[in-house]
Structures are given as structure tokens and as C-alpha cells.
């Protein structure tokens, strides 16, 4: 009477026992949802922080002042030399007239604005605005630019750049540690929840063993049950996460002085979020079931 793998039977047994042991199933799904929501929230905060820092990083630049005695064609040729340097992503030429205009505009709202208007162009130098690829290596890039013939000086806010790097690294590290800790705690709680659910069914398992069921036969319905609970938890957590995220996004967009905070729309992250939730739900559902029934099979 031995039989091959009967997917339909195992799935239907797994589904049936979810409803037969409704309360424990509900508890297990709630635990999965709670754990995924907490993990998801921390991850989304970290992703947004990284995104914002990335934006700030992208806007970060330093200036290289050009020697005023340099002939015009050599000034133009400097652009290629600067672009050829490592870690330089973009180079923009700013003539001294433009520099003066920008300078004056920055004092537009001050009382002595008229004083700046009378400044001659010669006070300013032609300059290149240089964007870097990796903000962490900005110091080295500035040194390289200073060595380029024709560049007389540079102006870089290295402290600000270093500050960005520190904040990003700390935020990233904290997020990873928190997510790992929460994942371990989630696995522990869910394995115990499923173990509790399984404990109430040890008699069923004992009867199956007694009549001659193989361990694989006993295990499969539990695996399907864990799978269904894990996936259900993942889907519920995904939509709840969506709702929570929307609420936060709306609140931030309506808050005063929050103009600098630019959150990533949930839609852009939906695919990776559901993917990660499903994988995590699968792992903790199936893994929890296997761990939970292991000791009941040793008869």
C-alpha cells in the first residue's frame, strides 16, 4: 500500500488542520505578521535613510579654482584632465561672471546687497565644480585635483562629506544588526508557537506512528501547514506595511519643515518587499514546523 508523493493529499491535510486548530493557526499568523512588520519597518527606515544620504551625496561637490593667467584653450582642456582623475564623476565649468552672479544672489536678502553688486568680475576666478563618485574618497580626490597644473586652489567641505559617511555607515550598521536580531527573535518565537500548536497534536502524531506512517508522511502536512501560515502572514504583513508606510508618508508630507525628507514611494519598493516577506515567511513557517515536529517523530 505504499504510495508516491501525494501533493494534493498533503496540501489538503495541511489546510484542513489549519482550520481544525484555528486559534493556534491564528496565533502563528499573528506572530509572523508582527515579526515581519517590525523587521520591514526597520528595513524601510534604513533604506530611506540610505536613499536620503545618497541624494545628499550626489549633490556634494567641491570647487577647483583655475589660474587666471592660463590661456583660454588650456582652461577648456582642464575639463578632460579633471574628468580623467579617479573618483570624479562629473565636471562643470563655472566662468567668473557666473560665479560672481551666484555669489551676489546668495546675499540677495541681506541689507548690504547693493555693496556686492559693485564687485568687479576680476575678484573672482574661473572654476570647475567637481562631483565625486565615492564621498568617502573625497579627500584623496581633492589632493589629486590640487596637483593638476592650472589649478591654483580648491574649496571642499571635507568635514561635511566625512559626516555623511559616518551617518550612513552607522545607520546601515544599526539597521543590519537590528534586522538580524529581530530575525533570530522571530524564528525563536514562531518555532515555539508552532511547537505549541504541534504539542496539542502529539496524540495524532503518535497514532500515525503507531499505525505505521513513515516520518516523511507525518512531516509533509506540517510542512504545508507551515508554508500556508508563513505565506499568509507574509501577504497580510505586506499590505499592513503598505498602510503604515502610506500613513507615515502622508504625515511627513503634511508636516512643516519636512521638505527635505524625500521618502521613496512604497510602489517602488513593493516588489522587493513582497519578495523578502514571502521568502522570510516561507523560511520561518516551514523551518518552524520542521523544528517543532522533530521531537515528536522520535518514537
Amino acid at each position: 500500500m505504499s504510495r508516491k508523493f501525494d501533493l494534493k493529499f498533503y496540501a489538503s491535510e495541511g489546510l484542513h488542520s489549519i482550520f481544525t486548530h484555528g486559534f493556534m493557526s491564528f496565533a502563528a499568523v499573528c506572530m509572523i505578521v508582527a515579526c515581519l512588520l517590525i523587521m520591514g519597518s526597520f528595513t524601510l527606515v534604513a533604506v530611506n535613510l540610505e536613499h536620503m544620504l545618497g541624494q545628499l551625496e550626489a549633490e556634494n561637490e567641491f570647487l577647483a579654482y583655475v589660474d587666471e593667467t592660463l590661456p583660454e584653450d588650456e582652461v577648456t582642456a582642464l575639463e578632460d584632465k579633471l574628468l580623467a582623475l579617479p573618483n570624479v564623476s562629473e565636471v562643470a565649468f563655472i566662468p567668473k561672471e557666473q560665479a560672481k552672479e551666484d555669489y551676489i544672489q546668495s546675499y540677495e536678502d541681506t541689507e548690504n546687497f547693493s555693496l556686492f553688486e559693485s564687485l568687479p568680475d576680476e575678484v573672482f576666478r574661473d572654476r570647475y565644480a567637481i562631483h565625486v563618485v565615492d564621498i568617502e574618497q573625497m579627500g584623496e580626490t581633492v589632493s589629486l585635483v590640487q596637483q593638476v597644473p592650472g589649478v591654483v586652489d580648491t574649496s571642499a567641505m571635507l568635514e561635511v562629506a566625512e559626516g555623511f559617511v559616518v551617518v550612513r555607515n552607522v545607520a546601515g550598521g544599526v539597521a543590519i544588526i537590528l534586522v538580524v536580531i529581530l530575525l533570530v527573535i522571530s524564528l525563536f518565537i514562531i518555532a515555539n508557537t508552532i511547537k505549541l500548536a504541534t504539542f496539542s497534536r502529539r496524540e495524532e502524531i503518535a497514532i500515525m506512528k503507531m499505525v505505521g506512517a513513515t516520518n516523511a508522511f507525518i512531516r509533509w502536512p506540517f510542512v504545508f501547514e507551515g508554508l500556508i501560515l508563513g505565506v499568509t502572514g507574509a501577504v497580510v504583513a505586506f499590505f499592513l506595511q503598505w498602510g503604515v508606510y502610506q500613513l507615515i508618508t502622508t504625515a511627513i508630507s503634511q508636516a512643516e519643515g519636512a521638505g527635505l525628507i524625500d521618502l521613496i514611494p512604497y510602489g517602488e519598493m513593493a516588489l522587493p518587499v513582497i519578495g523578502i516577506f514571502l521568502i522570510t515567511g516561507f523560511v520561518i513557517g516551514v523551518g518552524g514546523s520542521l523544528v517543532a515536529i522533530r521531537k515528536f517523530l522520535q518514537v
Binding site: 500500500m1 505504499s2 504510495r3 493529499f9 497514532i207 500515525m208 503507531m210 505505521g212 506512517a213 513513515t214
Partner: protein
């Protein structure tokens, strides 16, 4: 067939449950295993069902040598046995029919086999009309009949009944024993563990008596008497 050859069993805590027991129960036999509490009856049942292994000696059950059986072979050995317990061990959340179906599906029977076999066995134990009821809606005697039906449903060659009448009144106990006798007459080997003297003596079958892990007597048409034999 069951054959014990100089079987000794010592548990990890040092308890010597069996001290060299030998007996054989042939196919088609009906035998009682009797003895006081702690005499080793439960250990014999556990040895037969493969829950524990002997410390010494040899245990053969329906062609399987349980002294060195591979763990993956144990389920297939158990399929040759039906086991009945004092406390019935039915699944409360399943109906009578589902309890039997569950036992059949557990060994890989198809839906068609289940639909053919379960009604036959329910009829045999006289519970066809209770198929849709849950265990807690049944009397103790009826629950034990369901347990017997479950033991029978996979068509084992042997049934091991561990104190099957321990939770029943004398009348229900007699009915259960008569049912077991009828099953035996249909060809199934029966080993009934009990300490109910009246029942044992009434049926005049083979009686294997043990005490302190040793065989005291083994007689066909035997008589169970605490004072004289056990």
C-alpha cells in the same frame, strides 16, 4: 508470529524490566499476557511495537527481527500490527469514520480503498450507524469498538490489545472480549494484555503469565490465578 528468545531489557535508569523471557505466539492464536503491575507487560508491548529495542536476546515479529531492525523499516513492521489501548486514543476532532480514514491514509491507502474498507470494518464492530459521530458522543464501550475498528482497518495479521477493557464495566468488557474472539476466529492473531482474572478465565485461552520480568507459566486453556500461578 511473535517469537521472544531469551529477551532481556534494562532501561537507561538501571531498571531491569525483562530478565530472559522466551515464548512464541503462532499465527491465528489467541493469547492472554497477564501479570501484576511492574511485571514487564508494558515492556513486552513496547518491544513488539518497536518502541524500544531489547538489551539482549532476539525479538521476531511477523518476519521482522526487531533486535537490529533499521529505523526506516519500523513503520512497515508496524503495518503488520494493530494496537488497541486502554484509553482508546481516538482523535476527538475527527468523526468515527474520519478516525478510521486517518489510520488508512497514514499508511498510504487510496481514497477508493478507504471507501471500500471502512464501512466493512465499521459493520464488523457494529458501529455503522455511528460513523458520523464524534468520540465524545459515544459510550466507553463504543469508543473501544472504534479503537478496535481502527486497529483492524489496515488489515493487520496481528492485534495487540493493551488492557482493552480497563476502562469498561463488566458487561461492556465481556462484549469487547467477545468481539476480539470473533476477530480471532476470522484469522487475526490476538495478544491481549490484561489483569482481569474473570475475563481471562472465562475465555479459556492460552495464558502467558509473567512476574518480575520472568515467565511464570504458559498454558493453553490456562487459568489466571494470582495466588497459584502468577
Amino acid at each position: 508470529m511473535i517469537r521472544f528468545t531469551e529477551v532481556r531489557k534494562e532501561y537507561d535508569n538501571g531498571t531491569k524490566a525483562l530478565r530472559g523471557i522466551s515464548f512464541q505466539i503462532n499465527d491465528g492464536e489467541f493469547a492472554f499476557l497477564v501479570g501484576p503491575s511492574g511485571s514487564g507487560k508494558s515492556t513486552i508491548i513496547k518491544l513488539i511495537t518497536g518502541e524500544v529495542a531489547p538489551s539482549e536476546g532476539r525479538v521476531m515479529v511477523n518476519g521482522y527481527n526487531l533486535t537490529n531492525i533499521a529505523p526506516r523499516q519500523v513503520p512497515y513492521m508496524r503495518r503488520t500490527l494493530g494496537v488497541i489501548f486502554q484509553d482508546f486514543r481516538l482523535i476527538d476532532k475527527k468523526t468515527v469514520y474520519e478516525n478510521l480514514t486517518f489510520a488508512m491514509r497514514a499508511v498510504g491507502s487510496s481514497g477508493r480503498e478507504v471507501r471500500k474498507r471502512v464501512p466493512y470494518v465499521l459493520d464488523l464492530v457494529g458501529l455503522s450507524h455511528k460513523a458520523d459521530q464524534y468520540p465524545d458522543q459515544l459510550s466507553g464501550g463504543e469508543q473501544q469498538r472504534v479503537a478496535i475498528a481502527r486497529a483492524l482497518v489496515n488489515n493487520p495479521s496481528m492485534i495487540i490489545a493493551d488492557e482493552p477493557t480497563g476502562n469498561l464495566d463488566p458487561q461492556r468488557s465481556l462484549e469487547i472480549m467477545m468481539l476480539l474472539e470473533r476477530i480471532n476466529e476470522l484469522g487475526t492473531t490476538l495478544l491481549v494484555v490484561t489483569h482481569e482474572k474473570e475475563l481471562v478465565n472465562r475465555f479459556s485461552k492460552r495464558v502467558i503469565a509473567i512476574r518480575n520480568g520472568r515467565l511464570i507459566s504458559d498454558e493453553t486453556g490456562g487459568y489466571y490465578n494470582n495466588e497459584q500461578k502468577v
